[in-house]
């Protein structure tokens, strides 16, 4: 077909519709007149000739319709007609329309909201150039599959790698910032010179670090974050060249990076060159200073090739430095995977659940449409009788469905916009990259797509059914239609809704059981009324070990005087869910392993005597560390039950000795305490170090005391609300030294809650989805049973007139509901058995096939469904046979 001719034909048909119509009229009239002229010439009277001509021509309207169709404009015209008519039909039944739109809006809104989360977190690329080339580089040692990287190894990697165009290393380093008398804690990173160029981030002002900055002895320089620059200096461009007092030293500002820059979801205030750090352990291959590496792959290099390349490099290092690197390896993880990999499973579970919710919503609306099509059966019968094709009726009904879906989608979008913000505000920090969540074009396309798909899903079955209507039957039956088939279809939809609701309820139930199990787990300490914070000390670098000890003792004494404080302990090393530190050791009496890698590892907690009460650890055997276990006394430790079980399986560990390699001391075990759930109440990470010991803070070797001089952590046990006591704590601190900074204040309950925040998020959302699913299913059951009862009034009346009792009627109606619900339950349970396996990783303390959950869900659903059936069933029993028989 000539596209141009077609276009012209359609265009003229559409835009000059009236002209086309008049011309068509005129043309056909002209034909009939010409024919009449000819007939007249054969001798017929004019009137008879015209009549004959018209009869010969055939049905004018039919041919006109065919002509219109032939111009190609009819489809568009019919669509406009369908839309107009659809609007009219929806307006005619506002209650139906409102309910259908609301149901769809909930379904589509929930899907849109969750998709916007998935889109922002999982699908959108990282906001760096060529983000797929960015890789996180971890060191591996026996038992640690993705650990920190030592600086000297990093320098060797940087020199020897062939797969990466650049590598960078970084570590957390917070600073006390002294400006106009008051000290503030700044978050910071020490970074190697290539850090920003590896990521592809350019400073908005000044420059990034160069190799000349990144070495010992270079002038102290600092790069500011855009946010800090704005807050502290009002975005003044004059900041370049000014100096900042960080930890008592003066740093010159050389650059500012964009305020939009985040790294692993975090904003930091300041960046300093890592190469200037003089700490002796930093340049020791054996010591972990929590430094991590990133790299940018060369174009065309795959992750697997890079992994192989880095393994070669690590292997040559192991040969060169057998003491330190004998069993060390390298593990590469794509940076985005590293950031969001942890949340993918639960987002996928949620996305699947919310998809089920939409299916339920569609089934519900389909049932509403079916119920309504009953009232419109006559309308369709008349249409078909007047010559409307089946497809024409289907199209009309689908148009109405699409209108509903369109409105539902628009309202859903609004709900999603409000709901996403509310949900993210409710659980801050649960999701990485939460800032990237927005209703962008992908999300809008998704919403459009699911709206159209839902329109087809819920509109197709009812409209196909309506179009198959036999006009004779319908018109004769005065609008009753073949109700049997419709009931079967409605029953199927209800069963489907019940089945989907079962799956969602089981999912939600399993998450509730998981949370309950997590809350039941004893963390190994008492989190109630315990609070922890970090404390940094000014001018710490110059303090001698004795001065540091004296200051901490003063702090202890001062804290104990604060009203509301029951116990206090300064702590370092590990802290539950906040920080992990481990030491290699060997048991006295056993041969000393040749190198550090062959030694056992245990987490250590540097504690004071007050720790037992402040953290609430349970002493099971022997004694806890006391104030007498100080720098002058013999070194002692308390070990945990895992340590005792693992290394002293058949003997009493108290009184035994342990050699601590990193501290270079021999410690005597004086007691056994309960095991602390270091990684939260859930399952521990793979290859986690389980053995633990408590070590007296004051017995920290002198050479390590400078670590404690800079910053320590504190644990307090309070009498009342721990957050309320903090005000007094801060006042007391100001009396000791106004330059001391308290930061990262968290109650231990908050710390615990954070550890299962993602699971709680899943549970809340699944719970909401399941509740909505249950509600929608009940509406569906109620609607169908009501409908049946309404339709069956006549039959019920007849039965009662023939002697049926109310109980018989009740049984009849309930039986009908029970069949649907039981079918749905059966299908749902089977589906749930298969599907809950997908969320096994999110579960804790409960199997995916937990019989109790399944039983509870089945019971709850049956109960609620029974209620939904009971209300209309009761109405059925009230039927007055006389009225019912007169009905219709």
């Amino acid at each position: 077909m000539r596209p141009l001719a077609w276009l012209r034909s359609v265009a003229s048909a559409l835009f000059h519709r009236s002209r086309v119509e008049t011309e068509m009229d005129e043309e056909l009239r002209s034909h009939i007149r010409s024919r009449a002229d000819d007939l007249e010439r054969t001798g017929l009277p004019r009137a008879e000739a015209e009549r004959r001509a018209r009869v010969e021509f055939g049905g004018v309207e039919r041919f006109k319709e065919e002509c219109r169709e032939a111009t190609g404009a009819r489809a568009v015209e019919e669509l406009a007609q369908d839309v107009r008519f659809g609007f009219r039909m929806l307006r005619k039944s506002p209650a139906f329309t409102a309910i259908a739109i609301l149901i769809l809006a909930v379904g589509i809104g929930a899907n849109t909201a969750l998709f916007s989360v998935v889109n922002g977190v999982l699908l959108n690329p990282l906001p760096f150039p060529h983000p797929d080339r960015l890789v996180a580089i971890y060191g591996t040692t026996p038992g640690v599959s993705a650990g920190p990287v030592s600086y000297l190894n990093f320098l060797d990697w940087q020199r020897e790698t062939r797969a990466f165009s650049s590598l960078a290393i970084y570590r957390n380093q917070d600073y006390n910032y002294l400006a106009t008398g008051a000290a503030r804690r700044l978050s910071g990173y020490q970074i190697s010179a290539g850090f920003f160029s590896t990521l592809g981030v350019r400073p908005v002002l000044g420059r990034a670090f160069t190799a000349a900055d990144d070495r010992i002895g270079a002038a102290p320089v600092v790069i500011l974050s855009g946010g800090f620059w704005q807050r502290q200096f009002g975005s003044s461009p004059g900041i370049l060249g000014k100096s900042l007092n960080l930890n008592g030293a003066s740093y010159t500002v050389v650059g500012v990076i964009p305020s939009t820059f985040t790294f692993y979801g975090q904003h930091h205030d300041v960046y300093t060159p890592i190469g200037q750090w003089t700490d002796s352990s930093f340049r020791d291959r054996r010591v972990d200073v929590s430094a991590h590496a990133i790299g940018r792959l060369k174009p065309g290099v795959t992750l697997a090739q890079a992994q192989a390349d880095m393994e070669d490099v690590a292997h040559s290092l192991a040969v060169t430095y057998p003491m330190a690197d004998n069993h060390s390896g390298v593990k590469l993880i794509a940076m985005k995977e590293d950031i969001v990999g942890g949340v993918r499973p639960f987002l996928v579970v949620l996305l699947a659940s919310v998809g089920f919710l939409l299916l339920i919503a569609c089934a519900n609306v389909a049932n509403l449409l079916l119920a309504r099509s009953l009232g419109r059966a006559r309308e369709f019968g008349v249409r078909v009788a007047l010559g409307a094709g089946h497809m024409r009726v289907v199209r009309q009904l689908l148009t109405e469905s699409f209108l509903l879906a369109g409105f539902g989608g628009a309202l859903g979008l609004l709900l999603a916009y409000l709901g996403t913000r509310a949900a993210l505000d409710l659980v801050p920090g649960t999701l990485p990259r939460a800032r990237h969540i927005s209703l962008d074009s992908h999300v809008l396309l998704f919403t459009l797509g699911i709206s159209i798909v839902s329109g087809i899903l819920f509109g197709l079955a009812p409209s196909l059914r309506a179009s198959r209507a036999n006009p004779q039957g319908i018109l004769k039956e005065s609008g009753r239609g073949s109700s049997g088939e419709r009931h079967r279809l409605q029953g199927t939809f209800v069963a489907l809704e019940v089945a989907l609701a079962v799956v969602l309820l089981v999912g939600a139930g399993l998450m509730v059981r998981t949370l309950a199990a997590l809350l039941r787990v004893s963390p190994g300490y008492n989190p109630d009324r315990a609070i922890t914070f970090d404390l940094s000390l000014p001018d710490a670098a110059k303090a001698t070990p004795a001065e540091t000890r004296a200051r901490l003792r003063l702090f202890d004494a001062k804290m104990r005087q604060v009203p509301g404080v029951e116990a206090v302990s300064v702590t370092l090393g590990s802290r539950p869910m906040i920080h992990d530190s481990s030491l290699p050791f060997w048991i006295e009496g056993q041969p000393k392993p040749a190198n550090l890698q062959d030694m056992h590892q245990a987490l250590f907690y540097l504690v004071e005597a007050g720790f037992e009460k402040a953290m609430g650890v349970k002493l099971l055997r022997g004694r806890f560390i006391t104030a007498a276990d100080n720098e002058r006394g013999p070194v002692v430790i308390d070990i945990d039950t895992v340590f005792a079980r693992t290394y002293f399986p058949h003997e009493n560990p108290v009184g035994k000795y342990v050699n601590l390699a990193g501290f270079n001391v021999k410690a005597k075990i004086v007691g056994v305490v309960d095991h602390v759930r270091q990684w939260g109440p859930g399952p521990d990470p793979e290859s986690a170090i389980e053995a633990q010991f408590d070590y007296p803070f004051m017995q920290l070797p002198d050479k390590l005391m400078p670590l404690a001089a800079d910053a320590v952590a504190v644990v307090l046990r309070t009498r009342g609300d721990p957050t309320r006591v903090m005000a007094s704590v801060r006042r007391a601190m100001a009396q000791i030294d106004p330059r001391e900074v308290v930061y990262d204040v968290q109650t231990m309950n908050e710390v615990l809650a954070d550890s299962y925040a993602a699971r709680r998020f899943t549970m809340i959302l699944l719970g909401v989805f399941a509740a909505l699913a249950l509600l929608l299913s009940c509406v569906g059951i109620y609607g169908v049973i009501s409908c049946t009862v309404g339709r069956g009034t006549h039959e019920i009346g007849l039965r009662m007139a023939l002697g049926a009792q109310r109980a018989d009627v009740m049984r009849l109606v309930l039986g009908q509901g029970a069949r649907m619900v039981l079918l749905g339950l059966a299908v749902g349970v089977v589906a749930a058995l298969g599907l809950t396996r997908l969320m096994a990783g999110e579960l804790f303390g409960v199997t995916p096939h937990d019989p109790a959950t399944f039983a509870a869900v089945a019971f709850l659903l049956s109960l609620v469904a029974l209620l939904a059936c009971y209300i209309p069933a009761r109405r059925a029993t009230r039927v007055d046979p006389v009225v019912a028989l007169r009905h219709e």
């Binding site: 043309e27 007149r33 010409s34």
Partner: protein, 113 residues
């Protein structure tokens, strides 16, 4: 009437193109011309002509224009476009080949097999 042949599907378009190829015609004229050239052997329902005409216009095979008929009535005349002429040639060839083949097939006698 019953001795007239009913049209095979698709042949109406061919007949219209043929009729119009002999000179511009209005709808009724096309009907008469087909009757004339088929020696009144073909039956065409009068109204059915028009959807076919509209279709051919849409396909760019016919070009309509308003004029005056021999009876002095305003009428819509159709003439063949270049594409229409080409189509007529192709369809006519195809039809002739088909007709010849069918005639041969139907003329087959037992001894020829």
């Amino acid at each position: 009437m019953t001795d007239r042949a009913r049209l095979l599907p698709g042949t109406l378009d061919l007949l219209i193109l043929k009729a119009v190829s002999l000179g511009p015609l209005h709808g009724y004229g096309i009907l008469l011309r087909i009757g004339q050239i088929s020696r009144k052997a073909l039956l065409i329902e009068q109204g059915a002509l028009y959807p076919a005409l509209f279709r051919l216009v849409r396909q760019g095979l016919l070009k309509p224009s308003w004029g005056t008929s021999e009876n002095n009535r305003r009428a819509k005349f159709y003439e063949l476009t270049a594409a229409g002429r080409k189509r007529l040639r192709e369809e006519a060839d195809g039809w002739n080949r088909l007709a010849a083949a069918i005639a041969v097939a139907l003329g087959a006698r037992p001894e020829q097999i």
